[in-house]
């Protein structure tokens, strides 16, 4: 039975470091030595610092790799979240998920470049009021894991070590909330809810086709722990998503990456649910991995639209990831939806150059007559020097020879795509480009 109680959102009223660890009255207190010890059970992590940053803090985070939402499974064992990664894949989507709202676990670190293509791109997040409007992730506290791995390990190993650290801590905090003495309240609260007062007429059934990175290596997505590369589109329930069935392994442009927290708490689903109650039914998320060539792009797009059709979708929100050739997959997906009489809207970033004068995308289809812009990622943004910096002393080398190595504490002039989640194509933020 589908009820809103499949996911229980717990509001976090605040977070701080302390001498012990507990979650009481909606506030999280964390003993940093405990978190550091947990992270360092992974021998690949050589250095670990833990910080809590608050909205408005005059702090700049650099080398942001991923942002994760703390979660727990209500009837699972310890940390039965992130299936295929922290727990066996067989538990995917089972049992209600407790999701903590108002706190993020954010991991900072450096992954050595695999080659000239697969290199981690710089990600900056500033909590200060001066730049708060550049990112949706400045409104809540972050538990920041500032980590460094053994320099001798392979890049893919390094990425995995950082990822596991963030997921493990997010699962641990989720468990704290689940075991905080409020579990009974939560369980009582789980009694089936009475249906909301329906709109006159049946709710409109909407689906989300969500393109995900699938280039392998450092630009990838894990579905139940498995690389999205070379897999066909698949449909995932909100509950499975909230429990961590889809996890980012993508370290491409920070502005447009889909952070794990957006798979866990999907902006498209949230938009559908926040509209008038009973007007819409959210059918789920069709995960569409970027195809490596034209044939795979067309096949993936057609299959994603087929899944939407099979689900009874009456409309599809298609969201892109990355730019360049990855935009073809979503253009084809829009076309395939329209062919099946499923009206579609496309949410997409623009690559219009620093002046905004270039066309924003490499290709379009005539069916893409309705697009929402998540902004021109190339606009240059001025960041004034912050009070403090976490994550490193110098910016990562930019893609190719464009930039890199700047003093992380200094004044920066960077493309918008360097700012964490600024251009997120799942639609997490309010920036968009318009004709001028």
């Amino acid at each position: 039975m589908r009820t809103a109680r499949e996911i229980i959102d717990i509001a976090v009223g605040g977070a701080e470091l302390g001498s012990d660890t507990r979650f009481t009255n909606g506030r999280l207190i964390l003993d940093p030595t405990e978190v550091v010890a947990m992270v360092q059970t992974d021998g690949r992590i050589r250095q670990a610092e833990v910080h809590v940053v608050q909205p408005g803090d005059d702090v700049r985070l650099v080398h942001v790799l991923d942002v994760v939402q703390p979660v727990a499974r209500m009837n699972g064992g310890n940390q039965a979240v992130f299936p295929g990664i922290l727990t066996p894949p067989g538990q995917v989507g089972m049992g209600p998920v407790l999701r903590m709202d108002g706190l993020k676990v954010t991991v900072l670190g450096v992954i050595p470049a695999v080659d000239s293509f697969f290199t981690q791109q710089e990600g900056i997040l500033e909590m200060s009021h001066r730049s708060a409007d550049l990112s949706p992730l400045t409104r809540e506290p972050h538990l920041v894991l500032d980590l460094a791995v053994d320099p001798d390990i392979e890049p893919i190993e390094a990425a995995e070590a950082y990822r596991h650290a963030a997921l493990r801590v997010a699962g641990y905090i989720g468990e704290l909330a689940a075991g905080s003495g409020r579990r009974e309240d939560i369980l009582v609260d789980m009694a089936p809810v009475s249906d909301p007062i329906p709109d006159p007429g049946r709710p409109l059934r909407l689906i989300h086709i969500c393109e995900v990175s699938a280039f392998g290596s450092l630009f990838d997505t894990l579905i139940v722990g498995k690389s999205a590369r070379d897999i066909l589109p698949t449909i995932v329930s909100s509950r499975a998503m909230a429990g961590g069935a889809v996890v980012s392994a993508d370290y491409h442009y920070a502005g447009q990456r889909n952070y794990t927290c957006y798979y866990q708490s999907n902006p498209v689903e949230n938009a559908i649910n926040s509209a008038a109650a009973g007007r819409f039914e959210f059918l789920g998320t069709v995960v569409l991995p970027v195809g490596g060539d034209d044939t795979k792009k067309r096949a993936g797009a057609a299959f994603a639209a087929h899944l939407a059709d099979l689900s009874g979708a009456e409309g599809a929100v298609v969201t892109a990831v990355a730019g360049g050739n990855a935009h073809l997959d979503v253009m084809f997906a829009v076309r395939e939806c329209e062919r099946r009489d499923i009206p579609a809207v496309l949410s997409i970033v623009e690559m219009a150059g620093p002046s905004g004068a270039d066309p924003g995308m490499v290709d379009t289809v005539p069916e893409a007559d309705l697009m929402v812009s998540t902004g021109n990622r190339e606009e240059l943004i001025l960041l004034t020097p912050p009070g403090s910096v976490l994550g490193g002393d110098h910016l990562l080398d930019g893609p190719r020879e464009e930039s890199g190595g700047e003093d992380a504490a200094g004044e920066l002039r960077v493309p918008l795509r360097t700012i964490v989640a600024s251009n997120n194509e799942m639609g997490a933020w309010r920036i968009g480009a318009t004709l001028s």
Partner: protein, 352 residues
């Protein structure tokens, strides 16, 4: 300092021969020159500035002179800049074609020089498409009956430009869209906007896309002038394939140039001799075997077998990665001109 408050804004007006009162076609070859103060329709401009600024000079040139004489725009812009203007008001040109094109080119050149300028054009004036991204043009009537309205709009926008005000979108400021994508904050996030628009689309209600589909020009196919067996063929690629070590430091992204490299002594490319520096994809497969981007090995076979006449001795290369469209179009024109100049009748373009 707010210039508008001090009334010191120096405005230069640019007019064609007709609006400066020199006459019609008979004066259309008038060469550029400077007149002190406000002349012709610049008098209305001075009046509408209402003390917030003054027309210090009027620069005049004839339509034919501007259309036909090389360097005419540069000399007009030079004369304007000598007056050290805070703002240049160009035209309005209404629907007059030569005047509109000259006005747009003058504004674009002033923009490059960092001098604020504004013009007025009818939407169907060919000047609207000239250097569009660099020109602030207010929409006007087709004919000069709309002079006062056009001048009022130009003064309003021009003063905002001259005083360094933050310029909003085309819709907010009332200028003709420059084709520039400008980031703005919406009240709602993109997901919420997407859902609302989608519902309109599903219900058959009117909806407006946030990103209009781009339009490209169509070109009719050309045909070989001689049989395949007789022609000279060239290889052109955007795959960033260069001699090992990248001697000319071809950019891996945002390139603005093209290069040629000889391959007439080679039967094939190899990882010892060539590599790609293209930054837009995992380029290891092409580095391992550059024939995967420039198929020299099989082209030599076809050349030996007489399938086509001869392979031109050099290949043409650039890097097709986040390249500005204007640069891409220019590079295309330059390479095509070079090919034609060398009597090369056909080219194979390989693309990643």
């Amino acid at each position: 300092m707010n210039l508008a408050m001090t009334g010191t804004i120096r405005v230069v007006s640019y007019l064609n021969q007709f609006f400066a009162g020199f006459g019609g076609e008979e004066a259309a070859s008038t060469s550029p020159h400077v007149l002190e103060g406000a002349v012709g329709s610049a008098k209305l401009l001075d009046q509408l500035l209402g003390g917030r600024g003054h027309v210090v000079a009027t620069v005049v040139a004839g339509d034919n002179h501007m259309a036909e004489r090389p360097g005419a725009v540069e000399s007009v812009v030079g004369l304007i800049r000598e007056q050290q203007p805070d703002l240049v008001v160009v035209g309005p040109a209404f629907q007059a074609g030569r005047y509109g094109v000259a006005s747009a080119r003058i504004c674009a050149s002033l923009q490059d020089a960092g001098v604020p300028s504004v013009t007025g054009l009818h939407l169907e004036n060919p000047g609207v498409d000239m250097d569009r991204s660099k020109v602030y043009a207010v929409p006007t009537d087709a004919i000069a009956a709309g002079m006062r309205d056009a001048m009022e709009r130009m003064v309003g926008l021009g003063l905002r430009l001259a005083t360094g005000s933050e310029i909003g979108t085309a819709a907010e400021e009332g200028f003709i869209p420059r084709g520039i994508r400008q980031n703005v904050f919406s009240e709602r996030n993109a997901a919420e906007r997407a859902v609302e628009l989608l519902v309109r689309k599903i219900r058959g209600e009117p909806f407006e896309t946030e990103i209009p589909l781009p339009e490209y020009h169509r070109i009719n196919p050309s045909y070989l002038a001689s049989p395949l067996e007789e022609l000279t063929l060239a290889i052109v690629t955007e795959a960033g394939v260069v001699p090992k070590g990248n001697p000319d430091r071809l950019e891996s992204a945002r390139s603005r140039r093209w290069l040629t490299y000889p391959h007439d002594d080679l039967d094939e490319l190899s990882s010892d001799s060539h590599e790609t520096i293209h930054g837009g994809f995992d380029n290891a497969p092409i580095c391992a075997d550059p024939n995967r981007a420039i198929p020299l090995d099989v082209l030599r076979e076809f050349e030996r077998d007489g399938v086509f006449g001869r392979l031109y001795e050099k290949y043409y290369v650039t890097t097709g990665m986040t390249m500005a469209i204007a640069d891409a179009e220019r590079i295309g024109r330059e390479i095509a001109a070079d090919l034609l100049g060398r009597q090369i009748q056909a080219a194979i373009l390989t693309s990643t």
